[in-house]
Structure formats: C-alpha cells, structure tokens
C-alpha cells in the first residue's frame, strides 16, 4: 500500500475555518466573510447556487438543478425532489447548460439588406417587424400575416402570440411545430374523450404489470421514463413489450420485441380488440355504463393536394355492428398483413384481456406521425375502454409528448389555428370568454380556422401568406417535402422573421433575425406529458441584446397599437401573463396551480383543485370534477367515452418496384430535434457527429454496403447521399431504412412526403417509398 496525499502544511486555523465554514457557518451566518485563501482547494463549485428548472429538452420534463457560479450556468444534476425523474437525467439534460454557450450564439438582431445580413439595434428591428406587419395587413388583409411557433415555446410565449394574432389582429394564422408531433394525439383524445391530454400520469409506471410500447423507442426518446420502467422490472415481475417496425435499444431491453410491417398497427390494434371480444374479456359493465360506439368516414385521403379539406361524419353504431366489423381482423388475417405471428397477437391480447394484469400502453411519434394518426390513437383507447383498463393507477393508455411544452403551450394555451386557450374559435361562447379576458371586441376573433402547418407553408408558397414570424423552431429542417417550402420562403414578396439563438437553415431564409433568450436566461413555464406545469426563474443573463420571445412579441404588439392589451410591466410580465392565462382554465376540470405553488414545488399536475394535483382524471376516486360514482368521462356531454370503428387503410405512398424500400425518420438520444442546440454541446456532437442511413444487414449484404459506404436515397421528391450504418444503433426490418433528421448537412426531409392525417393534419414522417443504391 502507499500513503495518500491527504495532508499538507496548511495551518490549523485555516483548516478549522474551512471545515466549519463549509459545513455550517456559510449558510447560517451569512454575514461572515471568508478569506479567498481559505476557500482555495475546494472547487468553486463548492459554493454553487443550485436552482431548479424543468429540463430544456424533451417532453418527459425532468426536474434539473442548475449550478450557477459567477452568473454562468456551470453544472447540472437531477433534482431528487422531482416526481418525474427522482434525480436521474439523460445525457442531454446533464449537458444542457452547455447549449447556451456556443461561440456562434446570436447576440444582435440582423436585417437582410441587399442579400447581406447587417447588424442593427433591437429597437430598429422591432420597429421594422411592426411596420412590415401593419403594411402587409393593409395591403393583403389580416390573413396574410402568420406566426409559427413551437412546443418549446414557454407558456407565456404562446399565450401572448395567440393574444396578439387571434385576439388583437384577428387572424387564426397561429400554428406551432407541435402540429408535426402531437396533433394526432389531440384529435385522438378529442374524438375518444372530448378532452385533451392523458388521464393518467407517470406514476402509473410504478403500478402497471405490462407495458406495451406502440412504435416508441423509449430507451432513446424518453430515457428517464424507460429507466423508471427498468427499475420496476428489477423489483417486480413486469413485462415490457416493444411493438415496432425497427429493432432498437428499446427492443433489446424489452421482454418481447415484435416487429410489424409499417401502417399495419391499425390492423393489429383491431385484431387485439377482436380477440378481447371473442374470448369474453370485455369488461361488460364498464362498457355498458361508460362507452358509446361510433364510426366515421373511411377512405379519407392523404392531404397531398393543396387546400385539401376533410370533415369526419361520426355516426353512432351498436356493439353488434362493431363486433361484426372486427371480423375482418382475425389474428390469422392480420398476421398475413402485418407479419406479426398469430401467437404474438394473441399474446398481447391476452395481457390486455387479463383482468388481473394492469396494462400501460405508451406511444409517441410512431402512432402520431401517421396518415391515420387519429385513428391509431382511437384504436389504442378502444383496447383500454373495452377492458375498462383506464383512469386508474397502472391502467393507463399514455400518449407521450416529444417537446418540453407541447402540452403546456401548444395544447393548453391553444396555439393552433382552430384553438383558443379555452375551447375552439368555432364556438361562440369560447370566443366570448377569450374576448373578455383579452380585453378585445368579440368580433375581433375570427370564427373560422385558417391554415394548419403544412397548409400554412403551402399558402406561403402560393402567396396567400406574405409575412411569417417563426419562433423557437427550425422548419427549414423539419418540414416534410422540405424543398418546396424552402423555395417558397425565398420567393419575392415574402417577409420572414426568425427568432432563434443560433444560425440555422431557418435563419438562412429570414429577412429579420432576432436573437432570443433561451430557457433559464429568462423566466417561464413548461407543461410536460403528464399535465405537469413547471416553472423556472431567470438564472443567468442572456447574451448581448437577446430578448425572450415573450417580450419580443409584446414589444411588437405595443408598436402595432395594442398597448391596452399588452399592459405588462417588464419586471413582472411573466407573472401577470400567467395569472391572466389561468383565468381561462378556472374550475375543477382544468384548474391550473397558482404561480407560488409552481415556484415552490417541482411542478403541479392540472386539474389543480383545492391545493391538490389530480393524478387520475375521470375516476371519482381521484378526480373531484367527476359528477358520478366510478367513472365519468366528462369531456363528452353524456359522460361516455367513444369506442371507434376505424379500419386499416394503406399508407399514402407504398413501396413499389421503382422505390422498393420504406423510409422511416426519427431521432437519436444524443440530439434534440434539429440539433441546433445539442450539436453545439461538444460531448453530444462528438458522440453523434452526423446523420446516416440505417440498413437491414441482409439488404446491406445483398447490395454489398458496409458501414460508412456512401448510399444514395431517391424518392419522388429528390435524392440525398449519406453514409450507411449497418448493425449499429438500430436495425430496420428488411426492405426498410431509417434516417435520423438532426443533421442540417443531410436534410432527409428534402425527400420525405408531406402526406398527413386528414383529421389531425399531422404529417407522416415515418413512411414513404425510397430507392436505395450504393454509390
């Protein structure tokens, strides 16, 4: 053994002072000052100020503690007190603060003059935006201006955007990128339950016996929740079933990996319902008391053409009719279509049907980014409704969100063309509520929704929209069939404002670039997947002239003459806005926690009633808004949830002899969306430096492609060359390829298809036909 260097020649007194200082005195007697020298040796970190915030990145919404030192964020740890993550984060969360300190951070507003970006002052930039908007409205009408926001908008950002555009200007041209990820979840909830967002919460994970993941690579996309599941598995006998089109880390870590042919999840869900009914596993009293049966239109199209319109016509049906409909979905028939064995279908059905097993279904983009996304959401609810496994601890169909505030901002504040903070623009009552709180004449709020996201960019292309303000999102990487919309944005006579923190392909098309303050450089709130609203204070100063998106909007609103509505004071505006906003949600069904509570706790779950979060909605045991014993699906007028008859229909574009492969796109654990933040975090960029195309090893062998070889992907929209990846992060099924979309140097969305779910208008990024060649 050796002697360690535990002693040196420091004097007795100094050591004495150090220990007592570090353990007690510093906090208890703040008046005592320490000699610099005495603190030397201990890292400066020793005196870090740890402040709580929700994580900047994904929809899990982990609580983090950010270590602040000399006005800079220098460290992150998981907040042990957070109910979401109990102290654990993922690699993005741990390194999140580094995203604020990229060298190429935008710090000054830039205005495009003769093809060049010129630095200017914030005042001038905001003046220009306001005058441009006024001019556009005067020349082309209100519906020629638009705002395109984000599920990464804080609640106040989205709220003032909606108030300015819908309330003051009077156009419903308000959309957000959550249309691209969460719209099908919303329409799923609305059609099945009449109220958005999950009935359960993350705590369900601690009670469920079986987890069925519908096209959801949780190990990478919702890693902390996945770890929570793994933790349960090490303690109890639980089963994780991964039902997917690609073999991922999740498949490898689950108890059963089931691979299906893209789009056939519709048929699989129906087959499970068929089995449940056939085997008498239906929870009869639940269905009789709490459910209706309905069907809607079929053959509903894919939205590929401009100005595509669709309106569903729901029609009530009987249980017998529904049962008859399901006869097309016997496990044997569905097995042929989906490639899933009869045994596996029956295996899943038996878990759903077993009254002694609590089942949680989890899904995210696989189900939502689907040309029948709304149907798919309905179908998963069908399974839970038929078996009565819903709204109680552990029995939980759980729609996960991708973005940190897709729920909090886009869905709850309602920054979508048809939405208002409470209700929809089509409803007169809802318009009246909004007009009153917003202090605008009710006629201001237009009763007609305008453009959903894809159509909004199409309108920009056609010239129906002349002015677009883009905040906290990077559509020039994420729009499907991207080339069309990039060209659109560059057309003459379009004026694009982009608020962001770094240069991106989207700032490249901007006429004005505003530098934004991000995350903890300002104050705000996010709302995560489990209806939890979380607050964060401003912890560090934003660089240069950067300004929060909220305040940018307020400044422009004032310049447009809406001082009365935008009366907020700079020091207190977040609080004022939040207090104004929560008036919309007053009541037992959607009450929001007061700001003091959010500041104290690691967030609160709405409905927040009488000082308590409601963890399970629609169940009288937990939800004070219910009006009868047992279950009350009060989103629907008769308190009954709807079981929908939804058939299998093929994808918009199916592989054929010219384009024989399926193309699937998605994320990786290291990068957040388009990587504009995470790629500036050295650890993450070095871990995942560029995009690639994953091939099935058999296909690769046949084409003599190995990892690193250049591969050309061609679709009807264009082509792209990228390096191959074989047997690495994921393994697509034979005749399928997968490409992550984070890399702005390899824009996979240039060749994806802009088909969408006709009900939700959410594009399908997971399926189109592609040709694969070695170059």
């Amino acid at each position: 053994m050796y002697t360690s260097v535990l002693t040196d020649r420091r004097s007795f007194i100094k050591r004495m002072a150090l220990l007592s200082a570090m353990t007690a005195a510093a906090t208890m007697f703040p008046g005592i000052l320490f000699a610099e020298e005495q603190e030397r040796g201990l890292p400066k970190n020793g005196n870090l100020d740890w402040k709580k915030a929700p994580c900047r990145f994904c929809g899990v919404g982990c609580g983090v503690l950010v270590g602040i030192e000399n006005g800079k964020a220098v460290a992150v740890k998981g907040d042990p007190k957070s109910e979401v993550n109990k102290g654990l984060c993922c690699v993005k969360g741990y390194h999140s603060v580094i995203a604020m300190y990229g060298k190429d951070r935008l710090t000054k507003p830039l205005i495009k003059k003769n093809g060049k970006y010129v630095e200017t002052s914030m005042k001038e930039a905001l003046d220009l935006i306001a005058s441009k908007m006024k001019e556009t409205i005067k020349d082309y009408g209100k519906d020629a201006v638009s705002i395109y926001g984000s599920g990464q908008w804080t609640i106040p950002d989205g709220y003032v955007a909606s108030k300015l555009f819908k309330g003051c200007i009077g156009t419903n041209n308000v959309e957000a990128n959550a249309r691209l990820c969460m719209a099908s979840a919303v329409t799923g909830f609305m059609t099945s339950f009449g109220m958005d967002e999950p009935m359960g919460c993350y705590e369900d994970i601690d009670y469920a016996d079986v987890f069925v993941l519908w096209g959801n690579n949780m190990a990478e996309m919702h890693p902390v929740l996945f770890s929570r599941m793994l933790d349960q598995r090490s303690k109890r006998n639980i089963k994780i079933i991964d039902l997917a089109t690609r073999t991922t880390r999740t498949s490898k870590a689950s108890d059963r990996s089931i691979i299906f042919e893209p789009q056939t999840d519709l048929a699989i869900a129906n087959a499970i319902c068929y089995e449940i009914i056939k085997n008498g596993w239906v929870n009869k009293s639940f269905v009789e008391k709490h459910c209706n049966f309905s069907k809607g239109l079929t053959n509903i199209g894919y939205g590929l053409e401009d100005k595509f319109k669709f309106k569903d016509k729901p029609e009530k049906i009987t249980f017998e009719e529904y049962k008859k409909f399901l006869e097309d979905y016997t496990p044997e028939k569905v097995s042929k279509l989906s490639g899933v064995s009869v045994r596996d279908i029956k295996y899943m059905a038996s878990y759903y049907g077993d009254p002694n097993k609590k089942v949680m279904s989890l899904w995210c983009m696989g189900v939502n980014q689907h040309t029948r996304g709304t149907w798919m959401n309905n179908l998963v609810y069908n399974i839970h409704l038929l078996t009565g496994k819903i709204s109680e601890p552990g029995n939980s169909p759980f729609s996960l969100t991708g973005q940190p505030s897709a729920c909090g901002t886009v869905r709850e504040v309602g920054t979508l063309t048809h939405k208002l903070p409470k209700g929809v623009v089509m409803n007169k009552k809802h318009r009246e509520i909004a007009a009153k709180i917003w202090d605008v004449p009710v006629e201001n709020i237009s009763p007609k929704p305008t453009y959903h996201t894809v159509e909004m960019f199409r309108a920009l292309d056609r010239g129906d929209i002349k002015f677009m303000w883009i905040q906290v999102t990077n559509p020039m990487v994420t729009m499907p069939k991207l080339k069309r919309y990039r060209d659109a944005a560059k057309k003459e006579g379009r004026f694009i404002v982009v608020s962001d923190i770094y240069p991106t392909p989207t700032t490249d098309i901007a006429d004005v670039i505003l530098p934004s303050a991000m995350w903890i450089e300002r104050e705000g709130m996010y709302g995560n997947s489990e209806r939890r609203t979380q607050y964060f204070e401003q912890m560090v100063e934003p660089p240069g002239e950067s300004m929060s998106d909220t305040w940018q909007l307020i400044e422009v609103a004032k310049r447009m003459g809406y001082e009365k509505q935008f009366y907020y004071k700079e020091e207190t505006h977040i609080e004022e806005i939040y207090n104004e906003y929560i008036q919309f949600h007053k009541g037992k069904k959607h009450g929001m926690a007061p700001l003091e509570v959010l500041k104290e706790e690691s967030g609160a779950i709405w409905p927040y009633v009488d000082g308590k979060s409601t963890q399970w909605r629609f169940n009288s045991k937990y939800d004070p808004a219910t009006t009868k014993e047992g279950f009350d699906f009060y989103g629907k007028p008769d308190g009954r949830a709807v079981i929908w008859q939804r058939p299998y229909e093929p994808a918009a574009e199916v592989p054929d002899s010219d384009y024989p492969y399926w193309l699937n796109t998605g994320r990786v654990i290291e990068h957040w969306h388009t990587g504009s933040m995470t790629r500036r975090i050295p650890v993450l960029h070095k871990a995942m430096p560029y995009a690639y195309v994953e091939l099935n090893p058999e296909d690769a062998k046949r084409m003599r492609i190995k990892t690193g070889d250049k591969v050309k992907l061609t679709t009807r929209r264009g082509e792209i060359i990228m390096p191959a990846s074989v047997n690495e992060r994921g393994i697509p099924a034979p005749m399928q390829v997968f490409v992550p979309f984070f890399d702005e140097n390899m824009l996979i969305n240039d060749i994806t298809l802009d088909s969408f779910c006709p009900i939700s208008k959410e594009p399908d990024y997971k399926k189109c036909a592609v040709k694969v060649e070695k170059v």
Partner: protein
C-alpha cells in the same frame, strides 16, 4: 442393439466434445478480461438514503493494487464535461444497439483488468441502473460542430479538505448516484490521489462528512436564535 448403443455413445461424446470445444473457443474469443466478481445486481433506485457500499460483495479491502496501470486524477477528470457530469465513454463501444445492461456491466460492474485497454475497468457506483447509454456516450469524433465558450470550471483538489492536520477529509462532491464510495475510491482503477488507504473500514461516512456543496443553499433558512425572555 449393441451397435446402436455404441453409435449413440459416440454421437453423445462427439456432441459433448463440440460443446466443450465451442465453449472454450468462445471464451477464448472473449476479450481478455478477468472479472473479479460476477454477482448479479440487486436493485435500488435512488431511494436509499445514506451510503451504499459493498452492495455486490466486492472485496474492496483486497483489491489488487497495480502502480503500473493506475489512472491519474487528471485523466479521471478529463472524461467529464464539468465537475460532476456523467463521464463519457473514453473507448470505442462495440455494440451500439443495446442500452448497456449486458455489455457495459460485464466489465464495469465488478472491474477487472482489460488487456485490450491495458487498464483496469472502473467500477460503476450505480450498477442497478442499466440504461447506461442514457447518460454515458462514447466520442466518435474529435471535431466540433461549432466552437463553444463553455468553460469546464475547476475540479476539486486533493489534500485540502481536512480541518486539522491529519483529520479525516470532508467529501467535496455530491454523492447523488455515487453513494458507493469504495467503487470509486478503492479499486485498481482509482487514481492514486483519491485512493483510500483503509478500504477495509467500509463505513466511510462514520468519519468523512460532506461539505455543504450538495445542499441547496437557497432552501436553508437562516438560523436565528430566539431570545425567549424578550418575547412579548
């Protein structure tokens, strides 16, 4: 009948031979790596308060000590983006398609010497968490996407954390997810500077207390002694 018996005996022997040969061949193929202990993890997940030690019955008191293959504290710190960050994976990773449970933990649950890396595998202080790559990522590239202004900040020094000459030093770092002190302070991969001289005394916190840096200062209220006699 007899012939059949002989044939099947031979077949059986042959099969056994194949299996044994295959096994030894397979183990020969495995990376030269000597696990010290192979106990299966039991489970705990951030619920335990206080220190965790010897959770997997590793014999920390008798860990080999190999001066030729010891890391320095600088190397140890180099793998972290800031003080307290989850370390990166400083070597290439063969299988990307797994969460780490069955691969990372093979070496990092119990440690051992790897000939390939000519180093001892560090032992993970939280082997119950099996989604390793959720927090630890390898580095596949040396380039940056764009430069950063983020500074690593200072890491703690050694030998300055005791109150008295020779008194037990305090713990200068948070112990969240690092409650098993010995897994970092008493293994062959432990940097010399932070290796404990007395690993046989397993109740570390009996003598070493934490300095206050993992307490959320803003949560502590200022203690004010009340003067009860003056109370109205």
């Amino acid at each position: 009948m007899k012939r059949l018996g002989i044939i099947s005996l031979f077949t059986l022997l042959f099969a056994v031979f194949i299996i044994v040969w295959n096994y030894s061949y397979q183990s020969g193929l495995e990376e030269a790596y000597i696990p010290i202990n192979n106990n299966k993890p039991t489970s705990y997940f951030l619920e335990n308060e206080g220190m965790e030690y010897s959770k997997f019955d590793l014999d920390y008191a008798n860990m080999p000590f190999d001066e030729n293959h010891q890391r320095t504290l600088e190397e140890y710190y180099k793998n972290r983006a800031y003080y307290g960050a989850p370390p990166i994976i400083p070597h290439s990773v063969k299988e990307d398609l797994n969460i780490g449970r069955n691969s990372c933990l093979q070496c990092h649950q119990s440690g051992g010497f790897s000939k390939r890396f000519k180093a001892y595998a560090p032992i993970v202080p939280h082997p119950e968490m099996t989604n390793c790559k959720q927090c630890h990522v390898p580095q596949k590239s040396n380039s940056l996407f764009s430069e950063t202004n983020f500074k690593k900040g200072k890491f703690p020094e050694v030998g300055v954390n005791s109150a008295l000459n020779g008194s037990p030093p305090t713990i200068p770092h948070p112990i969240q997810m690092r409650k098993n002190c010995l897994s970092c302070h008493a293994t062959p991969s432990t940097p010399k500077k932070i290796r404990v001289t007395h690993p046989e005394r397993i109740d570390c916190m009996q003598c070493h207390v934490q300095s206050n840096n993992n307490i959320n200062i803003s949560e502590l209220e200022v203690f004010i002694r009340k003067n009860y006699t003056n109370e109205k």
